[in-house]
Symmetry: C2
Subunit: 914 residues, 2 copies
């Protein structure tokens, strides 16, 4: 069969003009039918009008001039293949007219079945099929669909008439209708079309076909289709293809029927056909839900031959498409036809299970298997979920889904309450206005957090994701009451009341709901993750502040620590006292004394950290947050002052007054842009010196320990650098301190100095800064804040508005902003690589755990990303996929290049022959 | 005279090897002497050893091999010209050996006079001159200078010996010394040199000369010279020239003497010679201050002929050098010699006066006149100054010089106190921890502000410069006490006590010090500023928020308003009530009602603004600050709540509680990066609509007013845009509101829409943003904050440290950071011009009033800068100078190009002849 038409592609009898790759021209459905036909699957013959024609029609308002000729020819061909003719009063050809765009838009566009019937033909069909019921049922279906879809008669008009007749017939459902009743329905429907459609139902089958095609074209720009495309970012310019296909009839009696199914279980990936079947029905009946279908599995008992045939066909489909298939079929008088097949959407668990199974079955390669799973699916599998069902209560309120999973526990309204309740062995949910660094202890013991303020990257959210705990933030329906109560929506709850959180949706439920455990021990998942690590070309490290974090990170396959926030080591009560003494010291001597107390504690922390990361790099960031974060609030001091006064302890009162004033003087208007990061190291060099000492003394201790058997790889990272001058001074200070340590101990160890690039100016001046460091790590949280001028802590009010109103497509704190922030990262990397091609480049912001961002970072060529332990698997999968994509692009380029070479060779050899 | 030597350049008898342009090679002094010689000024002959030789000496430790030969030849030449020979026992040639670098380093390097005398020659000199006193005075001067400078004998050794002899002589000063006494001094000095210098004074005049030259070379790297160069950013590699010049003797009796002077008064520019003269003395006597010189003017009476000669010579010097001259001269036995001349340093007033005078005298062009005045001088002239003198008290404390001028007033410790005191007609200085928007009223009535916190760009500083008032910020020695007292340094002062501030130095004085008024009515200044406006190629506009500001701006020559901050219109008490009602409205209806109250007020403001700027553009920025700036603080509400409870007014108490909660919910962690700018316009579109209505209705009203006779040019500016999406939505909202206004009124007016580029992302994405606007204006304050991650309100603690420790050379909030922030500005401008070559580009941050920054902006090609009214003259002068510099560079390029062309032509014609 050689294709000559411009607009129409035929398929039937095992041959087709089109093929499976031509989705842009033929739509998903048309291309699929062509492909299945070529593969000799039992597909009713037909032809597809290409999207070109639709685009022409939509822009010009008429069919392309050559379309009607092609239609005539194609129809004639179809009549030959089918052995029937459209409008033949004896044995009429009936066709379906279906929409089908390149991108699936389920239910958004129109389809008309049974086209070709009229008052005359219906008699022929009745005689030929031997079933008047079947013929008139088909005719009334045509009238109903054509009437509502093509002639715009309101659907309800048909529905109410149908209901009336069924009542007068005493039939509860259509299969109980007699042929006579159906004749009556047909007559009534024709009257309704004339009345509401403004003209009689067209008896000419050619006219029916032409009108149906035009209607399908038009449906491309129906309101709901436009809305759907807008919602899903689908181009307006594609247009739809129209497939005209010989009807097969599932409504031809008890040995007929229609079904939809999946080649494997789409929920858990189990290897058996899964789906529904409806006897004596056409496809739209399953969708309409008027009758309850049976499970496909039951066919094995009722029609074993049919089931076996279906199973074999589906297995062939999977083999050909190399993926789980979602298919539609019809059985006409015991004969099986496939009407559609496509790759199946599947749940997280199924995605991983089927990917691993299909790799092991040899159906797909490991690399393909990896690309088949959304990284987000991994997060879903790894967190417990609320076990909700039809009878579950509705949520009290909604917040932002800040960290996935489920949490069920008793309400604690403060950190101290949480610690106290957890001490009694209770499961606790911490409910607060918002959390601060002071709440770390409470957060450590709680199973989940719920805050009234803050966004997806607020303190609570970041800590939750870091801890892998469920968290809902920015729940505006929460109002804290004085004392021990909180309004959640319309309900007043008290400390100790049960609450259930659904982190993946942000829903808040009253009471103790049941949960489903996380599936982290799934063998398929472990296998999948190990494959991901195998194919990755960049490394995934973890953000880990404690030895416990580090241990979990190593277990989850982290290839080092990309960010250890040393300040998190200072919040333990005994350390906090020394830390506060250090901050409130009024001279350098006192400050150094307090630091000397902290030194051994830090050193022990670092020793443990190094031991848990044998031979892997550990990046330690010097003190970053503003010092007032470690101090009590002035309000807390006020309480103490009042107590001292009450006890007539005047001396302490005065000391506290002085402390309060000191604390107030450290308060800042915009702490994010205040006295923090390397600015602390410059103004209080003794803090930097203590930390560098602790790091290197720890490294020396571990290296000297024969049992350890490896040398630690400390990387000292300076935060918040804005200029070369800062970096050069600090690098010198670090080296001098290191030299002192080495001289005192008489031995040395390898260490590197690096910096975070987290201010726009650092990115712009990266080349100069890079001259003083061995590695840089992009702190994308702060870089995003500064580039946009968005404070993470405050942005929720307007950022939510932006997202809800489509001003922003994505939250730049979740997915990296390629245009703005990405520009700076790219600019910095290009400069830095030019100055120092060997420099190590990483990312340690929140974006290091976001798949889309990881793809971007990989495309720029970072050496590693670092993310919270809980997001490691997601990041590992994303990194594996990014690596493969890059690899595929490289291969494609290579192939294209070699193709070109071959073409040139060919040309040359032709020339030489000439 | 044809120069053949490599290292030495001779001058004398009206001819010279060098000339005035050869400062790099001959130093300022050598080049000046060569030039003066060529012009036949009476200059003692001599020769200059070029800086090349010094550099060679400094790097190799020896004289260049050919130097001694050249020295011999040059000396022989000099002896011929002078008619005397070095070391001639009968009539010895004496010379001075002087340092002189290309850049003036006054007093930093060495000079030795009277070289050539020894025990024998001194007798000859005595006989030849007929004065033993003169000869031995000269010899003891040589011994003293050579001994201390060349032979490193401590100066004090000579001084104490000299004192002893003068006591024994009963002479109070050296002119009273007898020849015998001077002989004794010579003998003692020689002994001292042997004792402290370790060897006898060299009797060989050749050796004296050689040692003196070497010492001058060495003095290039003396500690004080190195320090001075570091301080002034002078290159270490230049080296000094050495000038060897025939001595002329001011110490030859009463018809001899020495003097220094200015061709015009360096304090006020008056056109007469100004300076000092010392009879019977050598140059160093004036510097030493042992004798009190007389005014040069007195010569007119005492030596009218000499004075006339000097006056004519100085007039010639001015004509030749086309600038005010600072000259040194010596009179030897009634004969006048010039020893040095250079352009004179002058005070601000003199700079302007002499520039204008010299232009009007036809001595220099207008363009030259403009380049002669530092923009900072204008600020100095325009502010009153404390009239400090020797008896004035010392300052109590220091702060940062945030806004220049002087302020003398009584201390007010709060805005309400300031308003109250000012109401009683008192002059008030507002002294606070720091100021906020709430203090505007107090700032409006105060004559100056003093704050304990904040930096050069804090709220107080910015407002002060805007108001042209004196301000000192960040005075850490200030501690506010509870009640009505404040510690300033060691002194406890109370409200109502007198205080005096010196804004240009940051000094704080107790009491009511006298002031000198500003010289703003100076005719020369007005003329100067009008010339500046004439030559500027970019425009200077003013930041003006009120009609009064606008009026002052117009008077000061502003060419439009570049920034009107509409929020400043909301702080008046009657408006603040409506503003608060608007903010605290819980639904859109109430908000619109409150806005409707504000609309007529804003409209009236804008009408006045337009009327004061006839036909000039007025850029109005939509509401920018976070809303909580307009609300009372929670603490204020607490006071009201307590009062309500005391009165048992429970209902009001509850209402206040609710208000307090609302206010708290608007509080932000980092307000600078919070819910402000265009984010307000997007989330509260009704605010934008009100403002746009007010602007356009005002413009229509003024345009319709026949008396006005012009059409206003409103430019609506959207602040804090970070993305194209925001700008496109807002531009549409503005246009829609405008269309409504025009439709309702049945008439329209021209207006433009623009945006501020003040976030790094806006600069990066400027091309996309620019598609929606007609102008952009760089908000360099916020852009600097975000690019560095420095909060202006908090940065002082570390920024001061950076500046003090040389980590930063300049404060990026005062002078634009070209490398980082400047990169973003440049990037944005290039993109924007590419997309829209006609777009108007301005700068409206603080940097718009900083000369160095203005040069940078001009070099990038901005259309205008906008600055506070007080800084307008400075900006105008800086802009004029930048324009000329650009023009000069263009001319230089053109000349170079035409020179190249001529050379090519020449080459071609040579070739054609060949």
């Amino acid at each position: 069969m050689i294709h000559v038409a411009k607009n129409i592609y035929r398929f039937g009898n095992g041959v087709a003009d089109g093929n499976g790759k031509m989705t842009e021209l033929l739509g998903g459905k048309g291309a699929g039918l062509a492909e299945m036909t070529r593969l000799s699957f039992p597909v009713p013959p037909g032809f597809t009008i290409a999207t070109d024609a639709c685009r022409f029609y939509l822009s010009q308002g008429i069919f392309p001039s050559d379309l009607s000729g092609e239609l005539r020819e194609s129809l004639a061909w179809l009549e030959d293949v089918a052995g029937k003719r459209l409008g033949d009063p004896k044995d009429p050809l009936l066709v379906s007219v279906r929409s089908g765009a390149a991108v699936s838009m389920p239910g958004m566009m129109d389809t008309i079945l049974n086209v070709g019937l009229n008052d005359e033909c219906v008699q022929g069909l009745a005689e030929k099929s031997g079933s008047e019921r079947f013929a008139f049922d088909s005719y009334r279906r045509l009238l109903q669909m054509f009437g509502s879809v093509v002639m715009k008669v309101p659907k309800e008009v048909f529905d109410s008439a149908f209901k009336q007749i069924s009542q007068s017939e005493g039939a509860s459902r259509e299969s109980e209708f007699s042929a006579e009743a159906l004749r009556r329905v047909v007559a009534v429907f024709k009257d309704l079309i004339l009345e509401f459609g403004g003209r009689p139902f067209p008896q000419n089958p050619q006219e029916q076909l032409s009108m149906a095609i035009e209607t399908v074209f038009e449906s491309w720009r129906s309101e709901r289709a436009v809305f759907y495309r807008k919602l899903n970012g689908i181009s307006e310019n594609m247009g739809t293809a129209v497939t005209v296909q010989t009807m097969v009839f599932g409504n031809r009696g008890v040995d007929s029927g229609t079904g939809v199914g999946f080649s494997r279980n789409p929920s858990n990936g189990e290897r058996h056909i899964f789906g529904e079947y409806l006897c004596d029905a056409q496809g739209e009946d399953i969708v309409a839900g008027t009758r309850t279908p049976t499970s496909i599995g039951q066919l094995e008992d009722t029609s074993p031959k049919l089931y076996a045939e279906l199973r074999d066909l589906v297995a062939q489909l999977e083999r050909h498409y190399r993926d789980v298939q979602d298919f539609e079929f019809t059985v006409e008088s015991g004969r099986l036809f496939l009407l559609q097949t496509r790759s199946a959407k599947r749940a997280a668990l199924a995605a991983v299970q089927t990917a691993v199974d299909m790799v092991e079955e040899g159906l797909i390669t490991k690399r393909e298997g990896i690309s088949r799973v959304q990284p987000a699916s991994i997060a879903e599998i790894l967190s417990p979920q609320l076990d909700l069902h039809a009878g579950s209560p509705g949520p009290l309120a909604h917040g932002l889904p800040a960290s996935p999973g489920a949490a069920v526990g008793k309400i604690a309204l403060s950190t101290s309450e949480a610690v106290c309740m957890a001490g009694r062995g209770e499961s606790v949910i911490l409910v607060t206005e918002e959390t601060t660094a002071d709440d770390i202890e409470g957060m450590a013991v709680a199973v989940g957090f719920l805050t009234a303020r803050g966004g997806a990257t607020s303190h609570a959210a970041v800590v939750a994701r870091g801890m892998g705990k469920c968290c809902i933030t920015g729940a505006r329906a929460i109002r804290m009451c004085d004392g021990d109560a909180v309004w959640i929506g319309e309900k007043l709850l008290h400390a100790g009341d049960w609450l259930s959180l659904e982190g993946s949706t942000g829903r808040i439920f009253e009471g103790q709901l049941p949960t489903r455990a996380a599936s982290s021990d799934l063998p398929a998942l472990n296998k999948f993750l190990s494959w991901a690590a195998e194919v990755s070309t960049s490394v995934v490290r973890a953000n880990a502040d404690t030895p416990a974090d580090a241990k979990a990170a190593l277990a989850a396959g982290a290839q080092g620590i990309g960010l250890c926030r040393t300040e998190h080591m200072f919040f333990a009560p005994d350390r906090l006292i020394a830390m506060r003494a250090m901050i409130l010291a009024t001279d350098v001597k006192d400050r150094i004394k307090a630091l000397e107390q902290l030194l051994p504690m830090q050193q022990t922390d670092f020793e443990k950290l190094f031991r848990t990361m044998p031979g892997l790099p550990v990046t330690i960031r010097l003190l970053d947050p503003p010092l007032h974060e470690f101090l009590p609030s002035p309000e807390e001091i006020d309480v103490q002052i009042a107590a001292a006064r009450k006890d007539e302890n005047w001396e302490q009162g005065i000391a506290l007054e002085i402390e309060r004033r000191h604390i107030e003087s450290l308060t800042e208007v915009n702490p994010m842009m205040g006295h923090r990061g390397c600015r602390l190291s410059l103004t209080y060099p003794e803090i930097l010196q203590m930390q560098v000492k602790a790091i290197l003394q720890a490294a020396l201790a571990v290296a000297g320990d024969e049992k350890a058997g490896f040398e630690p790889l400390p990387e000292i990272m300076v935060p918040l650098v804005s200029s070369e001058e800062e970096m050069s001074v600090l690098a010198r200070m670090i080296r001098e301190t290191a030299d002192e340590v080495f001289a005192r101990q008489g031995k040395s160890i390898r260490y590197t100095i690096g910096t975070m690039i987290e201010l726009p100016r650092a990115a712009i001046c990266a080349a100069a800064i890079a001259r003083h460091v061995s590695f840089i790590s992009f702190g994308t949280n702060d870089l995003t804040q500064m580039t946009y001028g968005f404070s993470r802590d405050d942005a929720r009010t307007y950022l939510d508005y932006y997202l809800e109103n489509g001003i922003f497509k994505v939250d730049p704190f979740i997915t990296i902003d390629k245009e703005g922030v990405g520009y700076l990262i790219d600019l910095a990397m290009k400069q830095v690589r030019m100055v120092n091609p060997k420099i190590k480049i990483g990312v340690c912001g929140e974006h290091g755990g976001d798949p889309e961002s990881i793809h971007f970072f990989h495309s720029l060529g970072v050496d590693y990303v670092s993310c919270s332990v809980a997001r490691l698997p997601i990041a590992q999968v994303a990194m594996a996929q990014a690596s493969q994509k890059a690899d595929a692009q490289y291969q494609a380029k290579t192939e294209a290049a070699s193709g070109q070479l071959a073409a040139q060779d060919e040309l040359l050899s032709q020339l030489s022959r000439a």
